[in-house]
């Protein structure tokens, strides 16, 4: 089946026209793609603008910078896919990859041209590089559209020796690290936008051509090395920042957000309970951390070691979870959503009002608890810059490493629970609560457990957040934050670790880097969710079984799931 049939607005006649073209000119697809790739590559060596102040200077010929480099990257990927189209391997579908890269390149070239024209005052000011790039992009797209459809045979995936597979993983993750560090250092918004388009086009191209699935296959064969390599890469990230705290501050925000989203994922993704007030548990942890800190505004004059504070944060948050959960988890999901929504607001208002005028002074009301000192582990001051191997690591880098440990812990809890008997019970509850009950699954107990574990993980993250932010105020814990957490889970892929990490990164990074996204972030995220629900309801990264839940009539997918089950059974 051709992928074009999925598009509802393509009529039958149009479809057959494209098919006819494909039959007539299919053999030229590879030539078009290679030519287009070459043009894109050349466009990177040409000038895009007269004005060297635009897009970080793309005016110089034969000295590619900024979007000139990205054009060359797109060109290289298109060239590679075009060459593969000649070779026709059974386990790759270069045509589909070319279509994605083609569309991406066209959008990229147009965006580049528009950016130059807008800033320099007219299309006339766009130099030859832009037009050559656009021509190349159109050729690549034409090549992609004309290339024949391939029925992928996943059984012919080449098996590399295990050291080579691990090498592939390390190289890919290394590229990821490089790309992340590079992306974060791009400041010009138009260039940043073009870079995102490029990276997206390359990523979708790789996934579309089947290369992504192959990488996933390699990853699945080497789970442990993959996990270690991923943490190594994450660990190395601060060393790429040259002591600058700008990106590290964003990175720590992302890690806290991701750790909290992963906790929420236990509640929503594994147990299938909709919690709309989850941010309150993060707030609980943060307030516990703040009240027990050495801040001059702390309301409790007790400063236990931070390890104790972390445990207390988890404990208090999970007690709140149990208090909210025990009356509501007996009723159906909708009520739970409403009650948790209410709880989130009650928490915020309570923190707002516990200022001594109404009830005891615990939180200083709207002023919150500022001046929370940095953590200090056995003389290691988190507020100081430390130099390791000649590279300075600032305050945020210190917190980053601590948060990395937190994420590792959360992931460990998540995966252990998911793979356990408890995880199986959650699956049963999600699928059919009544049947699960008849099978002897303690439905209420397991739901309560999910609620308490999720809450305690958020509480743990909160205690660290208090010290990293240096102040805790009620307005940090509004409903919108709960909604964003939920969006990260849904966007990334419910019930998966990698998906939620991706979702959290996207949702936190975009507003920080692109001002326009920040101004309209509710609108943009809303649109994003609507589009996702239409085209990929299972999330960006989805387990195969989750995919099956949303695409029940996909027989091919059912077979893949079946073969995976068989592998596991062995």
């Amino acid at each position: 089946m051709s992928t074009v049939t999925h598009s509802p607005d393509t009529t039958d006649t149009e479809l057959s026209r494209l098919d006819r073209l494909r039959e007539q000119h299919g053999d030229r697809a590879a030539i078009l793609a290679v030519a287009g790739g070459a043009l894109l590559l050349v466009s990177g060596l040409l000038s895009w603008s007269y004005d060297n102040r635009i897009l970080d200077d793309v005016s110089v010929r034969f000295y590619p910078l900024g979007i000139q480099l990205y054009a060359m990257l797109l060109g290289i990927v298109a060239l590679a896919l075009g060459v593969l189209l000649f070779r026709r391997p059974q386990w790759l579908n270069p045509g589909r990859g070319l279509r994605a890269v083609g569309w991406g390149s066209v959008v990229f070239a147009l965006a580049g041209i528009i950016a130059v024209a807008y800033q320099a005052g007219g299309l006339i000011n766009v130099n030859e590089g832009g037009w050559v790039g656009l021509a190349g992009a159109v050729l690549v797209l034409a090549g992609g559209l004309l290339s024949p459809h391939v029925d992928l045979d996943v059984r012919t995936w080449p098996r590399l020796p295990s050291w080579a597979e691990i090498l592939v993983i390390v190289v890919m993750l290394g590229l990821l690290l490089f790309a992340t560090a590079y992306t974060l250092n791009v400041d010009d918004p138009a260039t940043f936008g073009c870079l995102l388009i490029t990276l997206l086009a390359v990523a979708i191209g790789l996934v579309g051509s089947g290369f992504g699935e192959y990488l996933g296959f390699i990853g699945q064969n080497n789970r442990r090395p993959l996990l270690l390599a991923a943490f190594l890469v994450a660990f190395l990230f601060p060393f790429t920042q040259d002591g600058s705290d700008a990106n590290m501050s964003i990175a720590t925000q992302i890690l806290i957000f991701a750790a909290t989203a992963l906790g929420l994922n236990i509640v929503v993704g594994l147990a299938g309970l909709l919690d709309l007030g989850y941010i309150a548990f993060l707030g609980t942890g943060a307030y516990v951390g703040a009240m027990l800190s050495k801040s001059a505004f702390a309301t409790i004059g007790w400063n236990p070691p931070f390890l104790v504070v972390m445990l207390l944060g988890m404990l208090v948050a999970s007690i709140f979870g149990l208090i909210i959960g025990s009356p509501t988890l007996r009723v159906s999901g909708d009520y739970l959503a409403i009650v948790t929504l209410g709880f989130g607001e009650i928490f915020r208002l309570a923190m707002f009002n516990l200022d001594g005028n109404n009830g005891p002074d615990l939180t200083n009301g709207p002023n919150g608890i500022p001046g929370i000192p940095d953590l200090n582990f056995f003389g290691f001051d988190f507020g100081q810059t430390h130099t390791v191997a000649g590279i300075p690591l600032g305050r945020f880098s210190n917190y980053y490493f601590l948060l990395l440990l937190l994420i590792a812990f959360v992931i460990l809890v998540f995966t252990r629970l998911n793979d356990s008997r408890i995880g199986r019970g959650w699956v049963a509850i999600r699928e059919d609560e009544r049947a699960a009950e008849a099978m002897g699954v303690n439905v209420f107990g397991l739901k309560l457990l999910a609620f308490a574990v999720g809450a305690s993980l958020a509480g743990l993250a909160g205690t660290i957040k208090a010290h990293q932010d240096t102040s805790v105020t009620p307005d940090q814990y509004i409903f919108l934050e709960s909604a964003f957490l939920l969006a990260a889970v849904v966007l990334g892929g419910m019930g998966t670790v990698a998906g939620v990490l991706v979702g959290a990164t996207v949702l936190k990074l975009l507003p920080e880097k692109a001002r326009i996204v920040n101004d309209y972030r509710l609108l943009i995220f809303g649109l994003l969710l609507v589009v996702m629900m239409r085209f990929r309801p299972e999330g960006l990264v989805a387990s195969k079984r989750r995919q099956l839940e949303f695409h029940e009539d996909d027989e091919e997918l059912a077979e893949i799931v079946q073969s995976e089950h068989l592998e596991e059974a062995k």
């Binding site: 008997r421 199986r424 019970g425 699956v427 049963a428 699928e431 059919d432 009544r434 049947a435 699960a436 009950e437 008849a438 099978m439 002897g440 699954v441 303690n442 439905v443 107990g445 079984r545 099956l548 839940e549 029940e552 059912a558 799931v561 079946q562 073969s563 089950h565 068989l566 059974a569």
Partner: protein, 237 residues
């Protein structure tokens, strides 16, 4: 033979409507007992109340010497009472094997793999398709899975709610033969059926339910021979 399950004056209601109006019956160890009756007679309600999914208004349910009316459903399964619910209620997106393992959820011992093998022996088709999502099964295969799943908790007594519903005559025969096999292997069975003939032929004892009350009882053979049953349930004049 001692009474494994003793239901006494059981009253169950949905709001103001009484679905079960004070029924009493016993199931002895090793028996196959059939509860027959038309739609709405209260058969499913009775089973759901026994397994703790519904709570009775009054009356007692004593299983293996313990009153179940205040015991949580998951504990009832642990006590050795398995329930294969109406409409099979298999987990359609989970594989056959995962479905079976969920049946053993109440257990934490090491014998689960053996019981998996036993379920596969009982229904070889399940082993062939152990990795297939259960929702792709035919009705009969789903029923086999539902029974296999219920047996995974290693129950002393198995309650089957309308296992023949929607099945072909051939498949129905297969299921009913399995009921006898399970009985011979030592499992006590409480069978709820609309298909009176099939249910009564294999039953050691039967009860006829009509709008919430037991109107007739006797051995399976007696009931099969009874004029009332023949008229009402077997369509004979």
């Amino acid at each position: 033979m001692s009474a494994m399950l003793e239901v006494k004056d059981l009253v169950v209601s949905y709001g103001k409507i009484k679905a079960v109006k004070g029924i009493s019956f016993t199931v002895d160890q090793g028996e196959v007992v059939s509860l027959i009756g038309t739609n709405g007679a209260g058969k499913t309600t009775t089973l759901r109340t026994i397994s703790g999914l519904l709570r009775p208004v009054s009356g007692s349910i004593v299983f293996d010497g313990r009153d179940l009316t205040k015991v949580a459903p998951h504990e009832i399964v642990s006590l050795g009472l398995a329930h294969s619910p109406e409409g099979r209620r298999i987990f359609p997106k989970l594989s056959v094997e995962e479905n079976l393992l969920l049946g053993a959820f109440s257990r934490k011992d090491k014998g689960i793999r053996e019981d998996l093998a036993a379920a596969f022996e009982l229904f070889p088709i399940l082993e062939e398709r152990r990795a297939q999502p259960a929702g792709t099964f035919s009705g009969g295969e789903q029923q086999m899975l539902a029974m296999g799943r219920a047996m995974m908790s290693r129950p002393k007594m198995l309650m089957l709610d309308e296992p023949s519903m929607g099945l072909s005559p051939l498949m129905m025969k297969r299921i009913m033969t399995t009921v006898t096999t399970l009985q011979q292997q030592g499992t006590t069975i409480l069978l709820v059926e609309q298909n009176a003939q099939a249910a009564l032929r294999r039953a050691t004892k039967g009860y006829v339910l009509e709008v919430g009350s037991i109107v007739l009882s006797g051995t399976g053979k007696e009931l099969l021979a009874s004029d009332d049953v023949r008229k009402a349930y077997l369509g004979e004049d």
